[in-house]
Amino acid sequence: MNINDLINHTAEWLRGAGPNSNIVMSTRIRLARNLAKVPFPNRAEKKDLLNVVDELNKAIAGNDYFKDSVLLKMNELDSIDKQFLVERHLMSHEHAVSGDGKALIVSGEEVLSVMVNEEDHLRIQVMQSGLTLNESWAIINMLDDSLSKKLQYAYMGNWGYLTACPTNTGTAMRGSVMLHLPALVMTKQINKVLAAIAKLSFASRGFYGEGTQARGNIYQISNQVSLGHSEEDILQNIGGLIRQVIEQEEQARQALFMQNRSMLEDKIFRSLGVLKSAHIISSQETIELLSMVRLGVDLGILNQVDRSHINELFITIQPAHLQKIEGKKLTPAQRDTRRAALIREKLGGV
């Protein structure tokens, strides 16, 4: 497999299936791991970094989890390739900046990925469709165990896994759930919900990267604290919180459906209409309209649209994806045209 195979492929986490997938888009668990006594990436020399890539490569040889995986070296990728991987949620913006000694490993279904030499030596990620905290934990836990037999992890009994930044020390685990919350936004309850989340020391941010404003009514909620609780306890806490948010969103959807049904149907069908017929469309407008169409699918108002197609479009309408599909660089104006064509193609437009 190589990077170009990813484009013709729907990542597992975009299937739009799995538990609570009417509201939960995906679940992601990340573990930070470092090798004992090797300088952290911010202090390491190039030879140290290459050594880490090498060690990991040896450690995963013959490991079933990495059977169909591909190793991508950052200094061998162009800027569109790197942005493409960021858009696909396989790596961070930071990882795309300066390439020497940095790498990314991606498994066949894109369930599994490892950023090598980002802020820590390893950032292992498992990402799946729907609310799958337990299932994703089971996978990443086993994978981590198998790696810990081959790599000498940086670890102390009292403080757990040692990371470049002490905000990650301990379990070094970040669990994130991506939620589609259009009804909470439309009923203007979202800020109340986000404030409550912040009070419980969980973080929430938008779908299109850290520090971005939420677009398309998609929010990502994750734990802040990584020390002093077991991984299972942390995930259980996130799960409990997520279930409450889901309940709030469901109530808001019911209220909208009961009280403003024709307004809601109008908004949803118009959104689908624009998406099916536009010939020039910006990503901002697309994302807002996709959110409405997804809500229509979830409420059973739109039966002929496939949820996985909508989920996929959230990703593929982004700039680097369009350019990978087209196989060449596109200007912003060309992208708006190409985007509209892609959407019509996917949704059977005119």
Partner: protein, 168 residues
């Protein structure tokens, strides 16, 4: 040198106190130092006692801890404060005292309760248990405002941590 407080016994503990930016050097005997430590703990408040646990030890030994560098990667604690990133895994034991209170501030705890690497050498096992027990007892003593007991436990914890640190 005589103790600054009782002016009778020999000063064996050297303390640097910074109050409102004013640096004061104190040279104390063992006994007065203990008194002073309880005083300071009360000043800092109960919540800070646990976090400040190691910081006090650092102040006592300030003389030989002027420079705080990681012996493995050379990063200094000042570098860390500036950039927010540590240099390597050995920075953790090197800055143990500072990080212990920092971790507590960030996470509300400085004790890992999660998983361990499979092949991680386990001899620390029973010792971690006692260290955990000691810390739990300390917390209890603080809650009961039994400072004598707390000081005693603090010494034990420091000893246990030192032992662990010296293990390969």
């Amino acid at each position: 040198m005589q103790c600054n407080i009782c002016t009778k016994k020999k000063a064996t503990v050297h303390l640097t106190e910074i109050i409102d930016g004013q640096v004061t050097e104190l040279h104390l005997c063992e006994e007065c130092a203990r008194e002073k430590s309880v005083q300071m703990e009360q000043q800092f408040g109960l919540a800070d006692l646990l976090a400040g646990l190691a910081d006090f030890g650092k102040q006592v030994k300030d003389v030989d801890k002027v420079k705080l560098d990681c012996p493995h990667c050379g990063v200094s604690y000042d570098d860390f404060k500036k950039f927010g990133r540590l240099g390597c895994s050995e920075c953790y034991p090197a800055f143990r005292d500072h990080l212990s209170s920092l971790l507590k501030k960030i996470h509300g705890s400085n004790l890992h309760l999660g998983k361990a690497p499979l092949e991680f050498p386990k001899p620390v096992g029973p010792q971690i248990e006692t260290l955990r027990d000691l810390k739990a007892q300390l917390q209890e003593a603080v809650q009961k405002e039994d400072f004598e007991k707390a000081a005693e436990l603090r010494d034990k914890i420091r000893l246990a941590e030192k032992k662990e640190e010296n293990q390969p």
